[in-house]
């Protein structure tokens, strides 16, 4: 039967199954291949906190969403065009994310009575016409996988496990993607067990061939490459980008990188990534807890390393005393907080932006710390580099905020030229002549970095208040106030050294939507949609949150309405209102999920 080839601008697909079904891997493979064919894309892995929740349960469903297209793609997609459901629970949990008329590809073999019951279905939705408003393709994925591997000696468990490659093969066929990148990946990944290479390749190809031959798929789709800027690209996640940005900063500053950290979702992958690249003279230290994570990093920084500590919510809480110490010592330190849903253990695998006030204010005493935030997965590279630049230039801890969505989400990234990255040029004090550990650079107000091993500079530092310049312990009232202000002025002064805020859209108008961090794509998509409708709305995304860009106040005055959108109950808006004394609206959702562009559009409609 001749199949129809239809052209699409963009598509959103969600792969969903049990935690053990390999949906994350399937999604990642689909992502790499899609990136390679030149589409723009954005992804949203969505998985439970439990590693292997009981099979078939609603809470054990693991999903991976990818939005790709021939146009600019800024979000993982509000709503899906296709849902691949490996069992009833996956169908039930994800159906609300599927558009009316969307495609469902269901593994009929997963819909046995036990699984139906676990998902709370009275009757089989694949057979009771409850899915009538969708285009349902029921495929016996498990059986077809077994058939493909019938003449092998593989254990039933291994056979069962490779069914995700059948689904992937089908989707490659349906969206006209090449198999080669995944074939290469399989060969590399399983190179130690040739039988697994053979099995997975066979299943992938079987899935693809099934699409080609079966009667049930009448249409095949094509999504042309996007018109991306000229250059060489790769797909990158936020956590990878943070790690690489730090490595780049280490190379460009001529300092060895030290990471002191304690595993925590969703930050652990930064540790995993950095520990792979020890040939960059990176030393990773998996400490006994977050306190040792930060204090070991402080020790390493004292010794002259580019020191980093990475964590998420609860870990930030534990590190707090260490932040204060780093402020008092005035030593460079990079703190990465991959925010997740809180409070307490909260939603370990979900995203949120509720640690902003903690980052800006959450310490005892007057303890100013620069805070910056990445806007997209690939922007994590730029901002990690920026964190290092500020930390080294101003001898200060810097907090970089990312979030669970940025950390695990992927997008195409135009690989920067190494030569185009600026040099960071820290210097160590070496001259004992007139050396004072707390003397100050006139411009930056930063103190000298005098590291042990330097003859003649022996000195003592610590967390007690110190005398201006000498650094000796000092409890005098006037000196304390002087030093409190000095530390504040130093951080405030960084405002002169960061990019001015830039508006996307009109320079003045009815409404300015302000966001920060990982909501960039959703807000941008929403604002652009409304601008196309002719509405007077613009977007400003803050990447430097403390200090704020110098021109922000001026910009705010040019709009009738200001809307601050964040995934918390209104934290940036508190900071902006108190600083600029202007009325501002806020849009807040805390679902553990990224914003949907559509929700922001509705909010804009309410205002305009």
């Amino acid at each position: 039967m001749a199949k129809v080839l239809e052209n699409l601008d963009e598509v959103t697909i969600r792969f969903a199954g049990d935690s053990g079904d390999g949906m994350q891997l399937t999604g990642m493979q689909f992502t790499s291949t899609t990136a390679l064919v030149g589409n723009d894309l954005s992804t949203l892995p969505d998985y439970p906190a439990e590693i292997r929740a009981p099979a078939g349960t609603l809470f054990g469903v693991s999903g991976f969403q990818i939005h790709f297209g021939s146009t600019e793609i800024n979000t993982p997609g509000d709503i899906c065009d296709v849902l691949v459901a490996m069992n009833p629970a996956a169908l039930k949990v994800n159906l609300r994310a599927l558009s009316d008329g969307g495609i469902i590809i269901a593994n009929t073999d997963g819909f046995d009575s036990k699984n139906l019951k676990l998902a709370g279905y009275q009757s089989n939705p694949l057979e009771d016409s409850s899915l009538e408003k969708y285009r349902l393709h029921a495929v016996s994925i498990t059986k077809l996988t077994e058939n493909a591997l019938a003449d092998t000696n593989l254990s039933p468990k291994v056979v069962e496990r490779s069914k995700n490659f059948f689904a992937l093969g089908m989707m490659y066929w349906m969206y006209s993607r090449p198999l080669e990148p995944t074939l290469r990946w399989i060969e590399d990944k399983f190179k130690k067990s040739p039988e697994l290479v053979e099995a997975n390749i066979r299943v992938l190809k079987a899935g693809h061939a099934y699409g080609e031959t079966t009667e049930i798929f009448a249409v095949r789709y094509e999504v042309k490459p996007a018109h991306l800027q000229k250059g060489t690209y790769r797909s990158i996640t936020g956590n990878e980008a943070v790690a690489w940005g730090l490595i780049a900063a280490s190379v460009k500053s001529n300092l060895d990188l030290f990471l002191g950290t304690y595993p925590i979702t969703p930050a652990s992958d930064i540790l995993h990534e950095l520990s792979k690249h020890k040939n960059f003279r990176i030393k990773t230290f998996q400490a006994e807890d977050e306190i040792a994570g930060i204090t070991s990093a402080i020790g390493a920084s004292y010794g002259g390393a580019l020191a980093v500590t990475t964590t998420s919510g609860p870990g930030m809480a534990l590190k707090t005393e260490g932040f204060g110490l780093a402020v008092m010592l005035e030593i460079p330190l990079i703190i990465v907080n991959v925010q997740r849903g809180g409070p307490s253990t909260g939603l370990p695998t979900k995203t949120e932006q509720a640690d902003l006030l903690q980052a800006v204010w959450g310490r005892n005493g007057e303890a100013p710390i620069p805070v910056i935030a990445a806007a997209t997965p690939s922007d994590c590279f730029t901002m990690a580099f920026e964190a290092a630049r500020i930390a080294l230039k101003y001898m200060t801890p810097v907090i970089l905020l990312t979030d669970g969505y940025l950390a695990n989400g992927a997008e195409p990234w135009m690989i920067p030229q190494v030569s185009s990255l600026p040099n960071i040029a820290p210097t160590f004090a070496t001259n004992p002549e007139g050396f004072l550990p707390y003397s100050r650079d006139e411009k930056t107000l930063s103190r000298p970095w005098a590291i042990p091993g330097t003859p003649g500079l022996e000195h003592r530092i610590g967390g007690l208040e110190k005398q201006h310049e000498t650094g000796n312990i000092n409890y005098e009232p006037e000196n304390h106030e002087f030093m409190v202000k000095m530390r504040q002025n130093k951080i405030d002064g960084i405002a002169d050294d960061i990019p001015l805020a830039q508006v996307e859209g009109d320079e003045k108008g009815e409404l300015l939507v302000i966001g920060w961090g990982g909501t960039y794509g959703a807000i941008r998509t929403a604002v652009e949609a409304k601008r196309r409708e002719g509405k007077s709305v613009s977007h400003l995304h803050l990447k430097h949150l403390n200090p704020l860009p110098k021109n922000l106040g001026e910009i705010l005055l040019k709009y009738k309405n200001i809307l601050v959108a964040e995934i918390n109950l209104g934290q940036l808006v508190k900071i902006l209102r108190s600083k600029y004394l202007l009325p501002m609206l806020s849009y807040n959702r805390v679902l553990g999920l990224p914003f949907k562009a559509n929700d922001i559009e509705q909010k804009i409609d309410e205002i305009l």
Partner: protein, 349 residues
Amino acid sequence: MHLVEELIQSNKNFTAEKYTAKDFSSDQDVRWCPGCGDYSILAQVQRVMPELGIPKHNLVFVSGIGCSSRFPYYMDTYGFHGIHGRATAIATGLKIARPDLTVWVATGDGDGLSIGGNHFIHVCRRNVNMKVILFNNQIYGLTKGQYSPTSEFGKVTKSSPQGTVDQPFNPTLLALGAEASFVARTLDRDPKHLQSVIRRAAEHQGTAFVEIYQNCNVFNDGAFFPFTEKETKDENVVYLEHGKPMVFGKQKDKGIKLEGFTPTVVSLSDGKYSVNDLIVHNENDTMLSFILARMSSIPNLPRPVGVFYKVQKPLYEVEIERQVQTAIQKNGEGDLEKLLNHGETWTIQ
């Protein structure tokens, strides 16, 4: 060449000058209470330092918070006064980043074993090459006299008017249990012994743990007098010496013998036992070290002081450095261009 490496290279030619104890005394006023045992510890450490042949600029003293943790301010070396309990963690990061430095940690029984207990056991098991001297005064000095994790059961303090119901830690036993590679005990009021133990710790490669009985004359005066005062110490202290039988007493007329696994005191004067029946100390015997450490909790036994245990194990920071070197040998020095472009990439013309 990397910045730190450059600095280390440029300072290679500085050899240790002929230092005296005075050279290790900083310009800061010492602020401990008059009569505090900390003074003696400071003096003995300053006395031993010149013998080590290490340039002052390669020495770092790291501490936490407490009276004892003021120690680094008074040493004319590099000094780092950290936050409560975290000295060993700070020092671990410093040692990993800078294996070339000689790092000492000064900590207290509250600092090192209460709030810092976690870091303490982990530094021991990792065997980071640093010396940890713990000033045990069995009280919280700086916060003015609450009980500490080494205070004896039933101790009456400001925070325990009816006596504590806490069982105390035995620091040497804890260090041994955490697999420290060097464990010793000494006393503030025995300068010679204190010096000799500090010297031994300095020579050791690995985490060297030294518990120092320290008198807090303000909040816990006399806690260790039975072991430190002339009238009583000979009967209450047994000095551990490698290869020597465990003899003690003013007249050297008593010894420690094992009954099964339990050490007991025997008389050497009544003809029943001779030195040949006594435990012969062996610093490298791990089983014996536990028995000796346990002696503090058995009534009527003298308190062992000296080096309990010493073993050579891989050094943490050296192993980390080795992995870095192995990675460089295997994959070449890190190349950023290569990293950013490895794996699947595509080009848009």
